[in-house]
Point group: C3
Chain length 209, copies 3
């Protein structure tokens, strides 16, 4: 991977597949924690892994590529199987869901923003679309398990996704499509998200009556 060059289709594909896989892990581990059976674990892993990309493509207005490419399906299902057979080995499963979710958030926020730019959406839309791509899967995971989605509960969730996507979009606006910024955007998102979670950084809550 020549990360000094421009963000290649191969890099975007790799990040997308990796993002699909780690989101699948977050869904699968949440299913293990909820004591679902084998099929429940695989189904939830797949649903969580695929949702962000599908929402992204629906919002762009293009047929969901994630769904047409068997490699995403394999990555998602593989994550479910890993969680089913290996979930008990992962200590502190509660943290694991959050950590894999953070990795997925960063990976697909940058690829979501890149795809939006590629389809000619404006910079603001591309940043928001990147964030939506990252947020969608975890939101559905929490709804299906009857929890209020983390993006609504936790201070630093939407913000790191927006930041990561913004790195890619700003770089694109100043003329660079270097892969460095793709990787940097993902890292910014992941690091900010994990710091926010680790130190319980919360945004202010509204003044109440």
């Amino acid at each position: 991977m020549d990360i000094s060059g421009s963000a290649s289709p191969l890099l975007i594909l790799s990040l997308n597949l990796l993002g699909t896989f780690v989101f699948g892990l977050s869904g699968g581990l949440a299913a293990v924690r909820a004591n679902l059976d084998l099929f429940g674990v695989v189904v939830l892993a797949t649903v969580v892994a695929m949702t962000g990309g599908i929402v992204r493509d629906v919002l762009i207005g293009t047929p969901p590529a994630t769904f047409r490419d068997w490699r995403y399906l394999v990555a998602a299902a593989a994550a479910g199987l890993v969680c089913f057979f290996g979930g008990h080995l992962l200590e502190r499963a509660e943290s694991s869901v959050t950590i894999f979710d953070a990795l997925g958030l960063g990976l697909v926020a940058v690829t979501g923003a890149s795809k939006a730019l590629q389809f000619g959406l404006g910079p603001i839309q591309a940043i928001i679309l990147g964030a939506v791509t990252g947020i969608g899967g975890g939101m559905l995971r929490d709804v299906l398990l009857r929890e209020v989605p983390a993006v609504l509960r936790e201070g630093l969730y939407a913000v790191p996704a927006l930041l990561g996507a913004a790195v890619v979009v700003v770089a694109h606006r100043v003329g660079s499509t270097s892969a460095v910024f793709t990787v940097l955007g993902a890292l910014v998102c992941i690091v900010v998200r994990l710091i926010g979670w680790k130190y319980q950084v919360n945004a202010p809550t509204p003044r109440r009556r």
Copy 2:
């Protein structure tokens, strides 16, 4: 605004932006009541404000316009910020959610029906699509906050949305695209919804074993 003339694109745009804003208020106030933080309030306001229009465009089969136009994003986010900073000033917050939701319901039910007609859908589809546009955002708001959606719980919710959309569709069928009917449809929906809510008008419940 020349409301004696035909429903202009400007009128539709204005109603859509206003509908987006008031739906955003309903989402943002629900978030304030649920004690979410700044980002949770803005995210929920935005999600609620955008959902109806996105579902409408997906059902029509056209790329979601709401998402591509930055003015909708600004209207939605502004509603979130208003709720965060000003939510405590709105007394009787519980009523506020319902009132703003009713305003949004009426505004986007008529614009949703108009857009469906414009894309050549049949009259029945246009009426239902108008109602769906109005119902979608509030339904997602309630699901994300783990409540059974108001459209399922309350007697007069789907019906006023269908009525408001029907005014526009019937007028269109008899050859009038006058803005009067667009405004009338919105008013019919809002008034019926608020009367139903105020006087707790309920539809019959099914006979049980």
Copy 3:
């Protein structure tokens, strides 16, 4: 219906309409059990009946046909009215929801897979898309009524849908589009689902710490 010939558009339409109707029954009966009123029953029946087909078409990337064809709307709303006026006659309402859900699952899993093949998707995608078409409506029904979806809770739910769709796809791959396989696929799904439910067949649950 000449079930010895190739799967005709008429057969697919019939199965789709029947699937829409029985899914509507499962949604409407769930609404009756949740004590919703007339409009809540009809709205939930319609939403559940239409969702699978809409998700299928969105994933394929074609405007939702289910929504543009008034016959589906009539089938869905009729199911809601049947549940409202006749729900009390159906004894053991809890089983009824599951039984109608199983019928719908089988019917639309095969039509979903057929439509995917017709639009040129690969065999794996067609199988999954068939299953998604079957699962979508029931999943939304459970989420709206604040239950963890049956597809996540129960052992044999996704598997029969995948099996039923696979019958159609495998037959198609070996060159047969005979209606026999369409009907067989639906039956396989329904029978496996009902056996799994009746005898509480559960897949293994993951080993826990």
